[in-house]
Symmetry: C2
Subunit: 152 residues, 2 copies
């Protein structure tokens, strides 16, 4: 499972670099589908991953103020900060134990394994959305290939 996180983080980092070619207006321009705009779709990915991992750790949720993130470097820094905080947990056996997970923002309880799958698929899905927006801007999207990344 952890390899999927490494894949997602590598792809996400490439999207941050990709974003640098765009003006702030394009990054924050409201688009159809996804999470409003390019930059906040990336922020939403981080938010969901970080929130679910904290829920798995039974830590309280830290809501993000999306309006304070208008620059690529801010979102990249947050991404790296959250990643540094959660990667140890995600590599541990604790992450795949059978304990149930509940989240303050949602009804129900889930297995940790289920939440790991959920976080992984959530990011790949949104990245697929970014790839359409890239093509609509006449730009080549970041490759979504798992192969040729040196991950295995």
């Amino acid at each position: 499972m952890y390899t999927f996180f490494q894949y997602n983080w590598q792809v996400r980092d490439e999207w941050f670099t990709w974003c640098e070619q765009l003006a702030k207006e394009e990054l924050l321009k409201e688009r159809i589908g996804g999470h409003h705009n390019i930059l906040h779709t990336l922020l939403h990915i981080i938010d969901v991953e970080y929130s679910w991992v904290r829920a798995m750790q039974q830590k309280e949720d830290i809501p993000l103020d999306f309006s304070s993130y208008g620059e690529v470097h801010q979102v990249r820094e947050l991404s790296h900060q959250c990643r540094d905080e959660i990667k140890g947990f995600l590599q541990s056996n604790e992450a795949i134990s059978n304990e149930r997970v509940t989240a303050p923002w949602m009804e129900g309880s889930f297995t940790r394994h289920e939440i790991l799958h959920h976080i992984i698929a959530h990011e790949i899905h949104h990245i697929g959305q970014l790839s359409i927006w890239a093509r609509e801007l006449n730009l080549k999207p970041v490759s979504a290939n798992v192969i040729f990344r040196g991950l295995f």
Copy 2:
């Protein structure tokens, strides 16, 4: 890993049902990004999954003639037929053995584990693209949630 395939197949089946509300012209209308149009993006997902699994089994590749697939029921039938053929292998220990995989359409060799990750992420990525096209048609896309699907 197999749960991700079950997730992808469940979501894919829901997209086939979703497609039934659209006229053939909309399903085959050339769009920006993805694999040309809605129906052939789904066909491409099946093609890639089936081709890689056959490569893992050291079976020869069967190229698909995309022009003969213009109806949802044809693509759904192909999807079910391929799935029935590959699911036994994907559930077996053979699928996660350490043998190297080569494919006739590509340079290089890969681990089976790498190819499984590749197939899974490939489908989720393209499904994300379909979700944007759905919103552009003013239609609610199929949910991409892993949770609430009874998979765990």
